[in-house]
Symmetry: C2
Subunit: 557 residues, 2 copies
């Protein structure tokens, strides 16, 4: 067996772990610096906690965990039941066909003498008799017309599993449509809840909402929490998209203050500045402005089409955008009303003024402008370290759940990469778990993309890799104990040090130890000890010197 890992997952080498941890720790430090507190939730949740929260697509992409023990028990029971009822149904159908032939199409006698019919079926159970009797009595006319229709079809076959035979199945459905769901056995989707009760975390937001509701009496609101944990999605893996990846989220729940929206802009700026990722653009928008635009163009269902088209202004020009909007069914008058958006440049203040004029007809839109103005004014007054804030009305991410601020961060210009962060405000995070009217606002950092951008820009140079600073070669058994004692002293001075474990008994083995030092890029190699003096080779400059232990400590620290 050639060892491998599931597609879409990754092993991380020491260097990769060190670089990733550098990003994690920077984000964590800033989160805590801003007053956010960490929580952690289990890797898997009860399925009912996750299912139905991410739409149909999400439900499909959630990794489900098989129940322990005899997980097929319920499925087996259903199959047996279905096969049994299907068998009785088949026998009934045979008898019906005979009756129909015998009576030349008149099947009334069949229905009038059901007990006689049942007596001809082997092993029919009492509850099945009751079921079919009630069914035939309650739906006599329906069944008769269904049967007539059925017999008018020329082809039909007989088998035991109704799913195999389209004609029979159609009749079966017609006759028992109410019951078809229960007996549609071995359908993958319908059986999932029978064999799986737990599922892997799909994002951090739903578990967070569950956490807040479950622990509401232990939490002090407003609750500023952060969470850095892996999530899992059964997405088709592709470049930069994995089945296991980390999310880094910071959210505040229980406050509607715009100061929180200001703070998240500062938080993005702080983290990216600390990472040395200068020149990021924090794009901001407000859902209410989008609602205002929808109101002005008189078509809220066209909002996505509108923003998608508008987003292409740079690429296809005004005429192209207008053409696309018209094609999507947005009226010429509506487009006329939002003219200012086609020359939407200048400072954030210019844009706000332009929006304010444009959205005079929409109360909600004006509220959005006011909110955004508060955020923009505050950020301008406080100042950012390395990022710039840019009002972007085409920003429409999470349109279905964001209700206020919408954020997205673009990597520094020149780096080809999608957004490296995003977030927004949602008015009802915890409602799905029964705690109403809790507003939240939060942002997320895209670890894998940030990693790629930093790699591209060479920003990992400063990261200390997990390797010894000093290696003691092991050529002479008589020196080993002394070396180990010196290593203890180095380590207690917080200097990473180790001795090559196996003593070299040949030239080749000595070479192997030197190769180890080179492969692991170790800076200082102690070859031997002469009367308490260390013989040290500086592997970077390639120079060999002798020094005392204290001198080595000073040299290395």
């Amino acid at each position: 067996m050639k060892p491998g890992i599931p597609k879409g997952t990754r092993d991380f080498s020491s260097t990769e772990v060190a670089k990733r941890n550098y990003i994690f720790n920077t984000i964590k430090h800033s989160f805590e610096n801003f007053g956010f507190q960490p929580i952690e939730t289990p890797s898997f949740e009860n399925s009912e906690t996750l299912m139905g929260k991410y739409g149909e697509e999400g439900d499909r992409l959630i990794f489900k965990i098989l129940n322990s023990g005899d997980y097929l028990k319920d499925v087996r029971r259903n199959v047996i039941e279905a096969v049994t009822i299907s068998s009785v149904f088949n026998s009934l159908l045979d008898l019906l066909i005979e009756a129909q032939k015998r009576e030349e199409g008149n099947i009334d006698p069949f229905f009038d003498n059901l007990d006689l019919v049942f007596s001809q079926i082997k092993n029919i159970k009492e509850d099945q008799k009751t079921f079919f009797k009630t069914f035939f009595t309650d739906n006599k006319e329906d069944v008769k017309s269904s049967l007539e229709l059925f017999f008018s079809e020329e082809v039909f076959e007989k088998d035991l599993i109704f799913e195999l035979i389209p004609f029979r199945e159609r009749l079966y459905k017609k006759l028992f449509s109410k019951h078809i769901d229960e007996i549609k056995v071995l359908d993958s989707k319908k059986n999932t809840s029978l064999i799986s009760e737990k599922a892997l975390r799909y994002d951090l937001t739903v578990p967070f909402a569950r956490y807040v509701v479950q622990h509401q009496n232990e939490i002090t609101f407003p609750f500023k929490r952060y969470q850095i944990q892996p999530v899992w999605r059964a997405d088709r893996p592709q470049k930069g998209r994995f089945r296991e990846f980390y999310q880094c989220d910071a959210d505040v729940v229980g406050s509607t203050s715009l100061w929180q929206e200001v703070e998240f802009v500062q938080l993005y700026d702080t983290v990216f500045s600390k990472l040395g990722l200068n020149g990021t653009t924090i794009k901001i928008n407000n859902r209410k402005i989008l609602s205002g635009i929808a109101e002005v163009i008189g078509a809220s269902d066209k909002l996505i089409d509108f923003t998608v088209a508008l987003d292409k202004l740079d690429k296809i020009g005004k005429d192209g955008v207008v053409k696309e909007m018209l094609e999507k069914g947005i009226s010429a008058e509506a487009i006329e009303k939002v003219q200012p958006l086609f020359n939407f440049s200048g400072s954030n203040q210019d844009k706000l003024a332009s929006l304010e004029a444009m959205l005079q007809g929409s109360e909600e839109g004006l509220q959005g402008v006011a909110d955004l103005k508060t955020v923009v004014d505050s950020v301008e007054s406080i100042g950012l370290d390395s990022a710039s804030l840019e009002l972007d009305v085409t920003l429409a991410r999470g349109l279905n759940y964001y209700t206020g601020a919408i954020y997205e961060v673009a990597a520094p210009e020149g780096v080809k990469m999608g957004s490296i962060g995003g977030g927004g405000r949602y008015d009802d995070l915890t409602g799905i778990f029964g705690l109403k009217d809790v507003s939240g606002v939060g942002i997320s950092f895209g670890l894998d993309r940030i990693y790629l951008v930093m790699e591209e820009l060479g920003l990992f140079e400063a990261v200390e890799l997990p390797k010894p600073k000093v290696l003691f070669l092991n050529f002479d058994e008589n020196e080993s104990l002394e070396k180990v004692k010196i290593i203890k002293t180095l380590r207690s001075n917080d200097i990473k040090a180790e001795m090559y474990p196996d003593v070299a008994t040949s030239n080749n083995q000595q070479k192997k130890q030197w190769k180890y030092a080179i492969n692991r890029e170790i800076e200082f190699v102690v070859t031997t000890i002469e009367n308490g003096t260390l013989v040290v080779k500086d592997m970077v400059v390639g120079e060999q010197t002798t020094c005392s232990l204290d001198e080595l400590i000073n040299k290395v620290q």
Copy 2:
């Protein structure tokens, strides 16, 4: 729906995360200080990587992940096949019974005219005819005698799923025993590989072995790796045993040096000393000594019984131990030979001398004594910070895979807790994945138990909890911007600070802000700013003062 989490899993509050991270970071720091490098492996592995590596019990306790998409496809195909063949079998059986009655027990005509028989079965397929024909032809005598036996039974029933009917099933098995495995449908165990190809990590050792083999060309050996990641086990949850928990492992592969065994004693000592967990006992043994004892008592299969009984010396005394050993079938002569173990006290050196005398008859045993002496001598010469090293011949953990050193760490005396760490040497870690003769030695830290011990001993006092150091109350909107600017300065001085986001517009709301400060145990509260001077309340001493921003920074840092 009342929100909850799966049994055996845990939510971690901020305080718990902070305390756990304190332990993780201490372990991590020491691992790296000792020259170990981190790796990370995916949360789930291909099932074939994990299954069969932990025994039958382990296979049962591994969490399996349901395949995506139509995961029941193969199961469905098998069921349909089985039901179909079962139906043909039932029809054949009906015809056989008729034939048997008709011919008064002579069923030869039945076998001689199989084509005639098949013609009476509706919808029988060609491949089924071939299957049954070959079967009846090849096994005529067998089938006949089986049938006679079957007919001598008084009770039998007829149904479609053979599993439901014991008599029919027995006949079915007799007739088709070679095929029963394929058609034993919907058995949970047998279907797992059809519906699940991935499984959650069960420990860190097997994924590490897989990693080493897969990446052998990128790795420099000896490879000192550490790994701190969660693992999952479908164990019955109980106090201190969880379904999701972290393992913290450090291992070296590719070296047989005893210096590594010395180093792990030092590593345990360093980590526990740094955690303030003074007075731990690092118990050590060597598998070869156990083999020597087995040789001396002349019964290697009784080794576990022997060590288990010997371990009770303190509790039940020498007579009790001897009695138990005799009951377990260890001979009186054998017990006589290992007399020294019943007075096994004194220093490690005393114990080694006693063992050396006792194991003179066993070459392997003497090798074990020599190895252990090297480790004990070295550790004594180097010195430990807070732990003590204790030779313990009853230490027999992992007897099935450890081949050299065996470690176990006991919490400080007075704390009731099982081992808080353990490990040992294994000669063939990577053999299961095709890389032979790679020796490894490693240790593990039991995070959850260490956490409980530290909680009991009050060792978390020093841990800095993730909460702001300074809270700015928000009573006056006109001050907010200035406060936010001051907070920016505090944060850039690495002081955790925040402003209460929502402005208080009533007495009650002001109280709520004070309550927030008290609940989160925030040390300094800035109430207001008067002409650039901050009004600060020290919440610990309950004193209110005024100071400049610089003074606040000095006070808080």
